[in-house]
Symmetry: C2
Subunit: 208 residues, 2 copies
DNA sequence: CACGCTCTGTGATCCCGGTCACGGAGTTTG
DNA sequence: CAAACTCCGTGACCGGGATCACAGAGCGTG
Protein backbone atom coordinates (compact mmCIF):
# COMPACT_ATOMS: atom_id res chain seq x y z
CA UNK A 1 0.00 0.00 0.00
CA UNK A 2 1.15 3.51 -0.70
CA UNK A 3 1.64 6.02 2.04
CA UNK A 4 -1.04 8.56 1.24
CA UNK A 5 -0.34 10.36 4.46
CA UNK A 6 3.16 11.28 3.33
CA UNK A 7 2.04 12.64 -0.02
CA UNK A 8 -1.01 14.43 1.34
CA UNK A 9 0.11 15.57 4.77
CA UNK A 10 -2.88 17.85 5.17
CA UNK A 11 -5.36 15.01 5.10
CA UNK A 12 -6.22 13.63 8.51
CA UNK A 13 -6.47 9.98 9.44
CA UNK A 14 -10.19 9.65 8.83
CA UNK A 15 -9.97 11.02 5.34
CA UNK A 16 -6.95 8.88 4.49
CA UNK A 17 -8.73 5.77 5.68
CA UNK A 18 -11.80 6.63 3.70
CA UNK A 19 -9.77 7.26 0.55
CA UNK A 20 -7.95 3.98 0.96
CA UNK A 21 -11.28 2.25 1.21
CA UNK A 22 -12.85 3.68 -1.92
CA UNK A 23 -9.91 4.30 -4.26
CA UNK A 24 -7.17 2.29 -5.83
CA UNK A 25 -3.65 2.71 -7.13
CA UNK A 26 -3.09 2.71 -10.86
CA UNK A 27 0.24 2.48 -12.66
CA UNK A 28 1.32 4.07 -15.91
CA UNK A 29 4.46 3.81 -17.97
CA UNK A 30 6.51 6.69 -19.26
CA UNK A 31 4.86 7.98 -22.41
CA UNK A 32 1.37 6.78 -21.51
CA UNK A 33 -1.40 9.23 -22.14
CA UNK A 34 -3.28 9.61 -18.88
CA UNK A 35 -5.56 12.35 -20.06
CA UNK A 36 -6.95 12.07 -23.52
CA UNK A 37 -8.64 14.90 -25.37
CA UNK A 38 -12.38 14.41 -25.28
CA UNK A 39 -12.26 11.69 -22.70
CA UNK A 40 -14.97 11.21 -20.11
CA UNK A 41 -13.60 10.97 -16.63
CA UNK A 42 -15.01 8.19 -14.53
CA UNK A 43 -12.82 8.98 -11.58
CA UNK A 44 -10.77 11.65 -9.98
CA UNK A 45 -7.04 11.15 -10.21
CA UNK A 46 -4.48 12.06 -7.58
CA UNK A 47 -0.83 11.81 -8.51
CA UNK A 48 1.36 9.78 -6.14
CA UNK A 49 4.63 9.33 -8.03
CA UNK A 50 6.10 10.54 -11.29
CA UNK A 51 5.31 13.53 -13.41
CA UNK A 52 2.65 14.31 -16.00
CA UNK A 53 2.99 16.95 -18.68
CA UNK A 54 -0.28 18.63 -19.53
CA UNK A 55 -0.97 20.16 -22.93
CA UNK A 56 -3.72 22.03 -24.61
CA UNK A 57 -4.36 20.65 -28.05
CA UNK A 58 -5.16 22.81 -31.06
CA UNK A 59 -7.57 22.00 -33.84
CA UNK A 60 -4.81 20.84 -36.15
CA UNK A 61 -2.94 18.73 -33.66
CA UNK A 62 -0.66 21.47 -32.40
CA UNK A 63 0.28 21.28 -28.75
CA UNK A 64 0.84 23.94 -26.19
CA UNK A 65 2.43 23.16 -22.87
CA UNK A 66 0.34 24.22 -19.89
CA UNK A 67 1.84 22.78 -16.72
CA UNK A 68 3.21 19.75 -14.94
CA UNK A 69 1.30 17.59 -12.51
CA UNK A 70 3.43 16.35 -9.64
CA UNK A 71 2.96 14.05 -6.66
CA UNK A 72 0.36 15.54 -4.35
CA UNK A 73 -1.41 17.23 -7.23
CA UNK A 74 -4.75 16.25 -8.61
CA UNK A 75 -5.86 16.58 -12.16
CA UNK A 76 -8.13 19.55 -11.62
CA UNK A 77 -10.27 18.69 -14.56
CA UNK A 78 -10.76 15.12 -13.50
CA UNK A 79 -12.34 16.33 -10.30
CA UNK A 80 -14.75 18.68 -11.92
CA UNK A 81 -15.48 16.96 -15.15
CA UNK A 82 -16.03 13.94 -12.99
CA UNK A 83 -18.75 15.68 -11.08
CA UNK A 84 -20.53 16.61 -14.27
CA UNK A 85 -19.55 14.03 -16.82
CA UNK A 86 -18.12 16.64 -19.13
CA UNK A 87 -15.21 16.33 -21.49
CA UNK A 88 -12.31 18.61 -22.13
CA UNK A 89 -9.70 19.02 -24.82
CA UNK A 90 -6.53 18.61 -22.89
CA UNK A 91 -3.85 15.99 -23.00
CA UNK A 92 -1.70 14.60 -20.21
CA UNK A 93 1.35 12.47 -20.84
CA UNK A 94 3.46 10.70 -18.24
CA UNK A 95 7.06 11.83 -18.58
CA UNK A 96 8.20 9.26 -16.04
CA UNK A 97 6.65 6.11 -14.59
CA UNK A 98 3.55 7.20 -12.73
CA UNK A 99 1.57 5.92 -9.76
CA UNK A 100 -1.82 7.51 -9.42
CA UNK A 101 -4.72 7.13 -7.06
CA UNK A 102 -8.13 6.82 -8.66
CA UNK A 103 -11.34 7.67 -6.85
CA UNK A 104 -14.62 6.72 -8.52
CA UNK A 105 -16.73 9.78 -9.08
CA UNK A 106 -19.75 8.53 -7.20
CA UNK A 107 -17.93 9.14 -3.91
CA UNK A 108 -17.28 12.81 -4.53
CA UNK A 109 -20.50 14.03 -2.93
CA UNK A 110 -19.84 12.25 0.31
CA UNK A 111 -16.19 13.28 0.44
CA UNK A 112 -17.13 16.89 -0.12
CA UNK A 113 -19.77 16.79 2.55
CA UNK A 114 -17.91 14.84 5.18
CA UNK A 115 -14.33 16.07 4.93
CA UNK A 116 -13.59 19.72 5.04
CA UNK A 117 -9.97 19.04 4.10
CA UNK A 118 -11.13 17.37 0.96
CA UNK A 119 -12.99 20.30 -0.39
CA UNK A 120 -10.20 22.62 0.69
CA UNK A 121 -7.93 20.42 -1.34
CA UNK A 122 -10.23 20.46 -4.35
CA UNK A 123 -10.66 24.21 -4.28
CA UNK A 124 -6.99 24.80 -3.74
CA UNK A 125 -6.19 22.51 -6.66
CA UNK A 126 -8.46 24.52 -8.84
CA UNK A 127 -7.18 27.85 -7.68
CA UNK A 128 -3.60 26.83 -8.37
CA UNK A 129 -4.35 25.62 -11.86
CA UNK A 130 -6.40 28.68 -12.58
CA UNK A 131 -3.53 30.87 -11.47
CA UNK A 132 -1.20 28.85 -13.63
CA UNK A 133 -3.39 29.26 -16.70
CA UNK A 134 -3.51 32.98 -16.09
CA UNK A 135 0.26 33.07 -16.07
CA UNK A 136 0.36 31.15 -19.30
CA UNK A 137 -2.01 33.69 -20.80
CA UNK A 138 0.28 36.47 -19.61
CA UNK A 139 3.15 34.96 -21.45
CA UNK A 140 1.46 34.48 -24.77
CA UNK A 141 -0.66 37.63 -24.64
CA UNK A 142 1.91 40.16 -23.50
CA UNK A 143 5.36 38.78 -24.15
CA UNK A 144 7.55 38.07 -27.15
CA UNK A 145 9.20 34.81 -27.97
CA UNK A 146 12.42 35.37 -26.06
CA UNK A 147 10.51 36.16 -22.90
CA UNK A 148 8.22 33.18 -23.39
CA UNK A 149 11.27 31.00 -23.78
CA UNK A 150 12.85 32.33 -20.62
CA UNK A 151 9.62 31.77 -18.70
CA UNK A 152 9.40 28.28 -20.12
CA UNK A 153 12.95 27.43 -19.14
CA UNK A 154 12.51 28.79 -15.65
CA UNK A 155 9.47 26.61 -15.13
CA UNK A 156 11.33 23.56 -16.37
CA UNK A 157 14.34 24.12 -14.12
CA UNK A 158 12.01 24.92 -11.29
CA UNK A 159 9.61 22.01 -11.45
CA UNK A 160 12.22 19.46 -12.47
CA UNK A 161 14.26 20.93 -9.66
CA UNK A 162 17.59 20.62 -11.42
CA UNK A 163 20.22 22.85 -12.98
CA UNK A 164 20.25 20.89 -16.22
CA UNK A 165 17.37 19.58 -18.27
CA UNK A 166 17.47 17.05 -21.11
CA UNK A 167 15.46 18.34 -24.00
CA UNK A 168 15.90 19.08 -27.68
CA UNK A 169 15.29 22.43 -29.28
CA UNK A 170 12.56 20.81 -31.33
CA UNK A 171 10.68 19.73 -28.21
CA UNK A 172 10.83 23.22 -26.79
CA UNK A 173 9.58 24.61 -30.08
CA UNK A 174 6.67 22.18 -29.96
CA UNK A 175 5.80 23.06 -26.38
CA UNK A 176 5.77 26.74 -27.27
CA UNK A 177 4.14 26.21 -30.62
CA UNK A 178 7.07 27.82 -32.36
CA UNK A 179 9.77 26.47 -34.69
CA UNK A 180 13.12 24.91 -33.99
CA UNK A 181 15.20 27.51 -35.79
CA UNK A 182 13.74 30.33 -33.76
CA UNK A 183 14.31 28.50 -30.50
CA UNK A 184 17.88 27.64 -31.48
CA UNK A 185 18.64 31.25 -32.26
CA UNK A 186 17.13 32.51 -29.05
CA UNK A 187 18.93 29.87 -27.01
CA UNK A 188 22.18 31.00 -28.63
CA UNK A 189 21.46 34.51 -27.46
CA UNK A 190 20.78 33.31 -23.92
CA UNK A 191 24.03 31.38 -24.06
CA UNK A 192 26.13 34.30 -25.24
CA UNK A 193 24.63 36.43 -22.48
CA UNK A 194 25.83 33.78 -20.01
CA UNK A 195 22.37 32.82 -18.77
CA UNK A 196 22.52 29.22 -19.87
CA UNK A 197 24.94 26.81 -21.47
CA UNK A 198 23.96 24.48 -24.25
CA UNK A 199 25.11 21.06 -25.30
CA UNK A 200 23.49 18.35 -27.35
CA UNK A 201 20.16 17.35 -25.78
CA UNK A 202 20.89 19.42 -22.72
CA UNK A 203 20.52 22.87 -21.34
CA UNK A 204 22.01 23.92 -18.03
CA UNK A 205 21.07 27.02 -16.15
CA UNK A 206 23.79 29.48 -15.16
CA UNK A 207 21.71 32.43 -14.02
CA UNK A 208 18.16 33.40 -14.81
CA UNK B 1 -35.41 42.07 -1.76
CA UNK B 2 -34.12 40.45 -4.89
CA UNK B 3 -35.55 37.23 -6.20
CA UNK B 4 -32.58 34.92 -5.81
CA UNK B 5 -34.71 31.99 -6.76
CA UNK B 6 -35.26 33.35 -10.24
CA UNK B 7 -31.59 33.99 -10.88
CA UNK B 8 -30.40 30.75 -9.32
CA UNK B 9 -33.18 28.31 -10.16
CA UNK B 10 -31.10 25.33 -9.15
CA UNK B 11 -30.87 26.42 -5.52
CA UNK B 12 -33.59 25.00 -3.33
CA UNK B 13 -35.61 26.92 -0.74
CA UNK B 14 -33.38 26.10 2.19
CA UNK B 15 -30.26 27.32 0.46
CA UNK B 16 -31.95 30.48 -0.76
CA UNK B 17 -33.17 31.25 2.73
CA UNK B 18 -29.76 30.68 4.18
CA UNK B 19 -28.13 32.90 1.57
CA UNK B 20 -30.62 35.67 2.23
CA UNK B 21 -29.81 35.45 5.89
CA UNK B 22 -26.03 35.72 5.60
CA UNK B 23 -25.48 37.82 2.48
CA UNK B 24 -26.45 41.23 1.24
CA UNK B 25 -27.06 43.04 -2.00
CA UNK B 26 -24.45 45.49 -3.22
CA UNK B 27 -24.87 48.00 -6.04
CA UNK B 28 -22.28 49.26 -8.49
CA UNK B 29 -22.38 51.88 -11.20
CA UNK B 30 -21.31 51.40 -14.76
CA UNK B 31 -17.56 51.78 -14.92
CA UNK B 32 -16.94 50.75 -11.32
CA UNK B 33 -14.10 48.36 -10.76
CA UNK B 34 -15.52 45.39 -8.87
CA UNK B 35 -12.39 43.32 -8.98
CA UNK B 36 -9.13 45.08 -8.47
CA UNK B 37 -5.74 43.58 -9.24
CA UNK B 38 -4.11 42.48 -6.04
CA UNK B 39 -7.23 42.84 -3.97
CA UNK B 40 -8.03 40.58 -1.06
CA UNK B 41 -11.50 39.17 -1.25
CA UNK B 42 -13.48 39.33 1.93
CA UNK B 43 -16.58 37.84 0.40
CA UNK B 44 -17.81 35.77 -2.47
CA UNK B 45 -19.70 37.69 -5.08
CA UNK B 46 -22.68 36.44 -7.06
CA UNK B 47 -23.91 38.56 -9.93
CA UNK B 48 -27.62 39.39 -9.92
CA UNK B 49 -27.99 42.08 -12.57
CA UNK B 50 -25.74 43.75 -15.11
CA UNK B 51 -22.55 42.64 -16.71
CA UNK B 52 -18.91 42.62 -15.67
CA UNK B 53 -16.00 42.52 -18.07
CA UNK B 54 -13.04 40.60 -16.72
CA UNK B 55 -9.48 41.33 -17.81
CA UNK B 56 -6.07 39.98 -17.16
CA UNK B 57 -3.62 42.77 -16.56
CA UNK B 58 -0.05 42.77 -17.86
CA UNK B 59 2.99 44.10 -16.08
CA UNK B 60 2.89 47.37 -17.99
CA UNK B 61 -0.80 48.04 -17.66
CA UNK B 62 -1.85 46.21 -20.81
CA UNK B 63 -5.20 44.51 -20.66
CA UNK B 64 -6.43 41.32 -22.16
CA UNK B 65 -10.10 40.47 -22.22
CA UNK B 66 -10.91 37.14 -20.62
CA UNK B 67 -14.68 36.81 -20.27
CA UNK B 68 -17.91 38.39 -19.12
CA UNK B 69 -19.65 37.71 -15.86
CA UNK B 70 -23.41 37.67 -16.17
CA UNK B 71 -26.39 37.32 -13.82
CA UNK B 72 -26.29 33.90 -12.24
CA UNK B 73 -22.50 33.75 -12.47
CA UNK B 74 -20.12 34.03 -9.59
CA UNK B 75 -16.69 35.49 -9.69
CA UNK B 76 -14.81 32.22 -9.58
CA UNK B 77 -11.78 33.78 -8.03
CA UNK B 78 -13.75 35.45 -5.30
CA UNK B 79 -14.95 32.06 -4.12
CA UNK B 80 -11.56 30.51 -4.03
CA UNK B 81 -9.37 33.38 -3.09
CA UNK B 82 -11.91 33.99 -0.40
CA UNK B 83 -11.31 30.59 1.07
CA UNK B 84 -7.60 31.20 1.22
CA UNK B 85 -7.13 34.90 1.47
CA UNK B 86 -5.06 35.00 -1.68
CA UNK B 87 -4.85 37.74 -4.23
CA UNK B 88 -4.94 37.62 -7.98
CA UNK B 89 -4.03 39.94 -10.79
CA UNK B 90 -7.30 40.27 -12.59
CA UNK B 91 -9.59 43.20 -13.10
CA UNK B 92 -13.36 43.30 -13.34
CA UNK B 93 -15.24 46.34 -14.55
CA UNK B 94 -19.00 46.83 -14.59
CA UNK B 95 -20.12 47.59 -18.14
CA UNK B 96 -23.66 48.32 -16.95
CA UNK B 97 -25.22 49.05 -13.56
CA UNK B 98 -24.65 45.99 -11.43
CA UNK B 99 -26.43 44.35 -8.52
CA UNK B 100 -24.36 41.75 -6.78
CA UNK B 101 -24.87 39.50 -3.80
CA UNK B 102 -22.02 39.37 -1.33
CA UNK B 103 -21.47 36.47 1.03
CA UNK B 104 -18.88 36.89 3.77
CA UNK B 105 -16.21 34.27 3.44
CA UNK B 106 -16.62 32.85 6.93
CA UNK B 107 -19.83 31.15 5.84
CA UNK B 108 -18.26 29.19 3.00
CA UNK B 109 -17.39 26.15 5.07
CA UNK B 110 -20.91 25.71 6.29
CA UNK B 111 -22.46 26.29 2.89
CA UNK B 112 -20.17 23.75 1.33
CA UNK B 113 -20.92 21.20 3.97
CA UNK B 114 -24.65 21.69 4.26
CA UNK B 115 -25.80 22.35 0.71
CA UNK B 116 -24.85 20.01 -2.05
CA UNK B 117 -26.22 22.44 -4.60
CA UNK B 118 -23.85 25.05 -3.36
CA UNK B 119 -20.73 23.07 -3.98
CA UNK B 120 -22.07 21.88 -7.29
CA UNK B 121 -22.51 25.51 -8.14
CA UNK B 122 -19.02 26.41 -7.01
CA UNK B 123 -17.41 23.58 -8.91
CA UNK B 124 -19.44 24.26 -12.01
CA UNK B 125 -18.47 27.91 -11.84
CA UNK B 126 -14.87 26.94 -11.75
CA UNK B 127 -15.13 24.40 -14.49
CA UNK B 128 -16.79 26.89 -16.79
CA UNK B 129 -14.19 29.56 -16.19
CA UNK B 130 -11.41 27.05 -16.59
CA UNK B 131 -12.86 25.96 -19.90
CA UNK B 132 -13.15 29.57 -20.94
CA UNK B 133 -9.54 30.28 -20.10
CA UNK B 134 -8.49 27.27 -22.14
CA UNK B 135 -10.39 28.65 -25.10
CA UNK B 136 -8.68 31.98 -24.68
CA UNK B 137 -5.35 30.18 -24.69
CA UNK B 138 -6.36 28.40 -27.88
CA UNK B 139 -6.96 31.68 -29.57
CA UNK B 140 -3.74 33.35 -28.67
CA UNK B 141 -1.56 30.26 -28.91
CA UNK B 142 -2.77 28.78 -32.17
CA UNK B 143 -4.55 31.47 -34.15
CA UNK B 144 -3.62 34.62 -36.02
CA UNK B 145 -5.10 38.04 -35.50
CA UNK B 146 -7.99 37.73 -37.93
CA UNK B 147 -9.12 34.52 -36.28
CA UNK B 148 -8.75 36.01 -32.83
CA UNK B 149 -10.85 38.93 -33.93
CA UNK B 150 -13.55 36.70 -35.29
CA UNK B 151 -13.62 34.69 -32.08
CA UNK B 152 -13.76 37.89 -30.10
CA UNK B 153 -16.67 39.24 -32.12
CA UNK B 154 -18.57 36.00 -31.88
CA UNK B 155 -18.28 36.05 -28.13
CA UNK B 156 -19.48 39.64 -27.99
CA UNK B 157 -22.51 39.03 -30.19
CA UNK B 158 -23.16 35.88 -28.28
CA UNK B 159 -22.96 37.08 -24.71
CA UNK B 160 -24.51 40.47 -25.42
CA UNK B 161 -27.11 38.50 -27.29
CA UNK B 162 -27.59 41.07 -30.02
CA UNK B 163 -26.85 41.46 -33.71
CA UNK B 164 -25.15 44.80 -33.21
CA UNK B 165 -22.63 45.86 -30.62
CA UNK B 166 -21.49 49.37 -29.74
CA UNK B 167 -17.76 49.48 -29.56
CA UNK B 168 -14.87 51.39 -31.07
CA UNK B 169 -12.02 49.80 -32.97
CA UNK B 170 -9.68 51.13 -30.32
CA UNK B 171 -11.53 49.25 -27.59
CA UNK B 172 -11.34 46.01 -29.52
CA UNK B 173 -7.65 46.59 -30.08
CA UNK B 174 -7.17 47.07 -26.34
CA UNK B 175 -9.16 43.96 -25.47
CA UNK B 176 -7.03 41.93 -27.84
CA UNK B 177 -3.81 43.70 -26.95
CA UNK B 178 -3.37 44.77 -30.56
CA UNK B 179 -3.49 48.16 -32.30
CA UNK B 180 -6.34 50.11 -33.80
CA UNK B 181 -5.01 50.18 -37.34
CA UNK B 182 -4.71 46.42 -37.49
CA UNK B 183 -8.21 45.93 -36.15
CA UNK B 184 -9.62 48.48 -38.56
CA UNK B 185 -8.04 46.76 -41.51
CA UNK B 186 -9.23 43.33 -40.44
CA UNK B 187 -12.72 44.64 -39.81
CA UNK B 188 -12.69 46.09 -43.32
CA UNK B 189 -11.84 42.66 -44.64
CA UNK B 190 -14.68 41.09 -42.67
CA UNK B 191 -16.98 43.76 -44.04
CA UNK B 192 -16.00 43.24 -47.65
CA UNK B 193 -16.51 39.52 -47.23
CA UNK B 194 -20.05 40.31 -46.04
CA UNK B 195 -19.62 38.89 -42.56
CA UNK B 196 -20.27 42.12 -40.72
CA UNK B 197 -21.21 45.69 -41.47
CA UNK B 198 -19.49 48.65 -39.86
CA UNK B 199 -20.60 52.09 -38.87
CA UNK B 200 -19.26 54.58 -36.40
CA UNK B 201 -19.17 53.05 -32.92
CA UNK B 202 -21.09 50.05 -34.12
CA UNK B 203 -20.60 46.66 -35.65
CA UNK B 204 -23.48 44.49 -36.77
CA UNK B 205 -23.24 40.84 -37.53
CA UNK B 206 -24.42 39.56 -40.90
CA UNK B 207 -23.08 36.03 -40.86
CA UNK B 208 -20.28 34.48 -38.87
C1' DC C 1 35.88 3.33 -39.61
C1' DA C 2 32.14 4.47 -42.47
C1' DC C 3 27.51 5.20 -42.84
C1' DG C 4 23.24 6.97 -41.25
C1' DC C 5 20.56 9.18 -38.02
C1' DT C 6 19.36 12.98 -34.99
C1' DC C 7 20.30 17.39 -33.41
C1' DT C 8 22.06 22.06 -34.08
C1' DG C 9 23.74 26.51 -36.56
C1' DT C 10 23.01 29.95 -40.01
C1' DG C 11 21.85 32.57 -43.97
C1' DA C 12 17.93 34.11 -47.21
C1' DT C 13 13.35 35.23 -47.71
C1' DC C 14 8.56 36.23 -46.63
C1' DC C 15 4.60 37.83 -44.19
C1' DC C 16 1.84 39.31 -40.31
C1' DG C 17 1.18 42.71 -37.39
C1' DG C 18 2.95 46.91 -34.85
C1' DT C 19 4.12 51.79 -35.52
C1' DC C 20 4.17 56.36 -37.69
C1' DA C 21 2.05 59.92 -40.22
C1' DC C 22 -1.65 62.06 -41.92
C1' DG C 23 -6.23 63.25 -43.69
C1' DG C 24 -10.99 62.94 -43.60
C1' DA C 25 -15.49 61.91 -41.66
C1' DG C 26 -18.83 62.38 -37.79
C1' DT C 27 -20.22 64.42 -33.54
C1' DT C 28 -20.33 67.71 -29.86
C1' DT C 29 -19.75 72.34 -27.80
C1' DG C 30 -19.54 77.16 -27.64
C1' DC D 1 -21.51 77.55 -38.14
C1' DA D 2 -16.87 77.17 -36.57
C1' DA D 3 -13.81 74.93 -33.66
C1' DA D 4 -12.44 70.91 -31.29
C1' DC D 5 -12.61 66.29 -30.38
C1' DT D 6 -13.32 61.44 -31.31
C1' DC D 7 -13.30 57.87 -34.48
C1' DC D 8 -11.94 55.71 -38.77
C1' DG D 9 -9.18 54.73 -43.35
C1' DT D 10 -4.92 54.15 -45.56
C1' DG D 11 -0.28 54.27 -47.20
C1' DA D 12 4.77 53.58 -45.82
C1' DC D 13 7.85 51.32 -43.12
C1' DC D 14 9.96 48.08 -39.90
C1' DG D 15 10.84 44.03 -37.14
C1' DG D 16 9.88 39.44 -35.08
C1' DG D 17 9.27 35.17 -36.15
C1' DA D 18 7.95 31.41 -39.52
C1' DT D 19 9.73 28.88 -43.36
C1' DC D 20 13.15 27.03 -46.60
C1' DA D 21 17.56 25.29 -47.69
C1' DC D 22 21.64 23.41 -46.47
C1' DA D 23 25.84 22.30 -43.87
C1' DG D 24 28.11 20.61 -40.06
C1' DA D 25 28.36 18.34 -35.55
C1' DG D 26 27.52 14.47 -32.33
C1' DC D 27 26.48 9.82 -31.69
C1' DG D 28 25.06 5.01 -32.50
C1' DT D 29 25.48 0.75 -35.23
C1' DG D 30 27.02 -2.66 -38.49
Amino acid sequence: MVDLKKIFPKFDEDLIKQLEKIGQVVDFNEGDMLIRPGQYFKQSVLLLEGRVKVYREGDNGEEFFLYYLEPGNACALSIICATRNETSEIKGIAVSPVKAFAIPLQHMDALMRDYRQWYYFVLETYRMRFEELLQVIDQIAFHSMDEKLEFYLKRQFDTLNSKTISITHQQIADDLNSSREVISRLLKKLESSKHISISRNEITMLSL
